[in-house]
């Protein structure tokens, strides 16, 4: 572990994410395959004080999950990639780069191409909520104490609280696509007002058609021009190409895994969906992230080739599509369900990106690269279905349910996500009528662990799998 300095030690969120990577890597390095095998006292003895102080806050279920053979490789490589990303980010910030936050569906490549290391505003709270008990609850409270109501999305309340408490650096620029919702758009305006951030808008038109896409590409070009103007960093073709190529390679494995998950039994562990999404948000960021994707793909591939699935052999597999998405603060949930009920997690609203539509970014010229990245953003989770008629989301999931041979659907509705709650009924009916599978809807919050406590979430899901399956 390198000695921490600069913004890495100054900002608690950076430090914490970096430390949790160390901890997970260490735990796996011990070779233990379950928490019982871990010699905690000895480990605590050799851990730096800060790291040791974090150990008791980590979800035991997460430790249990990452130590399992099926999750070890992916976790190790993912943590390495995140550490590398945090290092790149903090190094850039320490060398005086402006603080630029990007919304999840604007690809990092475009900023990396300008020699900027962007930080996805929502990303670090998502990691921390997954690893630590009540990970970002206090940050959410800080924001609500300012008068922001409970029904506003915690994906922005958490980072807002982190900014208020100095856990993340104050923003210079924030780049926001106006997809997917009013809630996030209001919270970026709030950040502009409270922290004096400069918000650059990428207007995402309603409709998902050619005309809308042309407009969207224009919006991207204007955004790039604004960021160039505000930062003095110019988009460099070769630098952009380098990161786009990394991204393309990552996508190759991403699509590959989507294919593998259609197999029976499904060879791809459910807990990876959350990691994959985080990886997608950081697509093209570094070589290690490519390694992560390759590791996931190859491990799944080997399982598939030897006819193995993530569900114990001989056990009935319950194949599920998660029509809203996973629940970040319950990172371990898919693994828990695989173990208890033989559930396998095929695809979710936050992981589905149609390869036949998005494909790979054409690296011929700056223009083709910008268009390609815009196309990916346009069809990324949230980007694709968040700002158009509900039909697209419904068609996508009926297609997925059929192509992936799903037995059931689970809608883990994030309470703040009004536009998807308005579709839930149509979606459930369509899946029942056209794919013949039942849907289970439950209410939760993306990051706030108090909305539906883990115990009650587990009880509700257990009831569903016990009763229907």
């Amino acid at each position: 572990m390198e000695t921490q300095q600069g913004s890495l030690s100054r900002y608690d969120h950076f430090r914490k994410v970096d430390a949790v990577c160390d901890l997970f890597q260490m735990a796996i390095a011990t070779g233990a395959s379950s928490p019982a095998d871990l010699d905690i006292p000895t480990l605590m003895g050799i851990l730096p004080e800060y790291h040791a102080s974090l150990v008791p806050q980590i979800y035991p279920e997460v430790i249990e999950a990452i130590l399992k053979p099926k999750n070890r490789g992916a976790t190790l490589s993912h943590m390495a990639a995140v550490k590398r990303y945090v290092t790149d980010l903090t190094t850039a910030l320490d060398s005086g780069q402006p603080v630029i936050y990007n919304f999840a569906v604007t690809t990092p490549e475009i900023f990396l191409g300008m020699g900027l290391v962007p930080l996805c505003y929502e990303l670090l709270p998502i990691y921390l909520a997954g690893a630590f008990v009540g990970g970002v609850d206090q940050d959410i409270d800080l924001t609500e104490d300012e008068g922001i109501p409970g029904h506003v999305c915690s994906a922005q309340k958490a980072p807002n609280g982190a900014l208020m408490s100095g856990k993340m650096p104050m923003p210079d620029i924030m780049v926001k696509t106006t997809v997917p919702c009013n809630s996030s758009n209001m919270m970026y305006q709030w950040a502009q007002q409270q922290f004096g951030a400069r918000v650059v808008v990428v207007d995402s038109p309603y409709y998902s058609n050619r005309r809308a896409f042309r407009y969207y590409v224009e919006e991207w070009k204007n955004m790039i021009a604004s960021v160039e103007r505000l930062t003095g960093h110019k988009l460099d073709e070769d630098r952009l190409r380098h990161h786009v190529e990394l991204g393309n390679e990552q996508l190759k494995y991403y699509y590959g895994m989507q294919e593998l998950r259609r197999r029976i039994p499904n060879p791809d562990p459910g807990m990876h969906r959350a990691l994959d999404v985080a990886a997608l948000y950081l697509c093209g960021a570094n070589q290690e992230m490519v390694e992560y994707s390759r590791t996931c793909y190859q491990e799944a591939r080997e399982r598939a080739d030897s006819g193995l699935g993530v569900v114990a052999p001989g056990r009935k597999e319950i194949r599920t599509v998660w029509t809203w998405g996973m629940t970040p603060h319950m990172l371990y949930l898919p693994d828990w369900l695989e173990e208890r009920f033989g559930m396998s997690f095929l695809e979710c609203g936050l992981s589905y990106m149609p390869s036949e539509v998005v494909g790979y970014v054409d690296t011929t010229s700056v223009d083709t690269m910008i268009e390609g990245l815009a196309l990916r953003a346009f069809n990324m989770p949230m980007g694709r279905t968040g700002m158009t008629h509900a039909d697209l989301m419904i068609e996508d999931f009926v297609k997925v349910a059929k192509a992936y041979h799903a037995d059931a659907a689970v809608f883990s509705g994030h309470m703040a996500c009004k536009h998807s709650w308005a579709v839930a009924k149509m979606l459930g009916d369509a899946l029942q009528e056209r794919a013949g599978i039942p849907s289970f809807k439950w209410e939760t919050d993306l990051l706030d662990t108090r909305f539906t406590p883990h115990a009650s979430a587990k009880a509700q899901l257990a009831e569903f799998f016990e009763t229907l399956m």
Binding site: Q432, P438, T467
Partner: protein, 256 residues
């Protein structure tokens, strides 16, 4: 003889089946202690029905207290118990509505009595028995008398609000505004009727709906829901609150 017990958080319901026929029924307070409740059941069976532990071939438990009973027993999920009991009561049954103290559940079941889909009142307590208890406490009347009291209503009041607590303050405001108890009672029952009906409509329900649970005794509710659904509701054989217990006991019969 098979003993089926539905240990609710406040009341424990028990039935004894012999050849799929009810030979004894019993209700005892749970008082938050599942084991004690089971002892009381055994005691009651002995004293009131002359049925000894030895006569019971098997005991099947369902409901809130199931996991809290230390004595060995078979267990059943409450939802499958509801499904089984309903079809036992009415073989044509393809849907169940259970109006319990803590939960309102709607199930659609196939001809084998298997649960195909279900909906329950989620975080929101409105529409469950406990909710009515609390509302009527504010009015100082009993749930059992509510249907009759509501009969005297002479004015239609609409209660908005989404959860029990919202309703409660609405009710208090109405009381303070001098509304008659009858009118408020009717408004509360109407609100619950709508909540439950909406829950039912969220799911494709096939005809022949059996309704069970303690609230199924409330004619005003049952008729109201049936009216809004435009479907007949069959109240579970005589003692609707026993539906869970009967279903649990039937699981053994089913197994054979």
């Amino acid at each position: 003889m098979i003993l089926g017990c539905d240990i609710g958080s406040s009341v424990t319901k028990a039935v004894v089946l012999e050849d799929r026929a009810v030979v004894a029924t019993l209700r005892v307070p749970t008082e938050a202690h599942a084991d004690k409740a089971m002892d009381r059941v055994m005691e009651g069976l002995r004293e009131r029905h002359k049925i000894d532990r030895a006569d019971i071939e098997e005991t099947v438990i369902t409901g809130w207290g199931e996991s809290r009973v230390s004595r060995p027993h078979a267990s059943q999920s409450i939802l499958s118990s509801l499904a089984r009991a309903s079809q036992w009561d009415r073989p044509a049954c393809r849907a169940v509505l259970c109006l319990g103290a803590q939960n309102t559940a709607v199930l659609s079941i196939n001809d084998k009595g298997r649960v195909m889909e279900y909906r329950m009142n989620d975080k929101c307590a409105s529409g469950c028995g406990k909710f009515l208890e609390i509302m009527f406490e504010a009015l100082a009347i009993g749930v059992e008398d509510s249907a009759e009291i509501a009969g005297a209503a002479d004015k239609r009041i609409t209660l908005s609000g989404q959860c029990a607590v919202f309703y409660e303050s609405d009710v208090v405001s109405l009381i303070n505004a001098g509304e008659s108890v009858a009118n408020i009672t009717e408004a509360i029952l109407e609100a619950v009727t709508k909540t439950v009906t909406t829950l039912c409509k969220k799911m494709k329900m096939h005809d022949a709906i059996v309704v069970g649970g303690g609230l199924a005794n409330n004619r005003r509710l049952v008729d109201g829901i049936s009216g809004m659904l435009g479907r007949p509701l069959h109240v579970f054989g005589g003692e609707p609150d026993l539906i869970g217990a009967v279903g649990a006991a039937l699981s053994v019969e089913a197994a054979r």
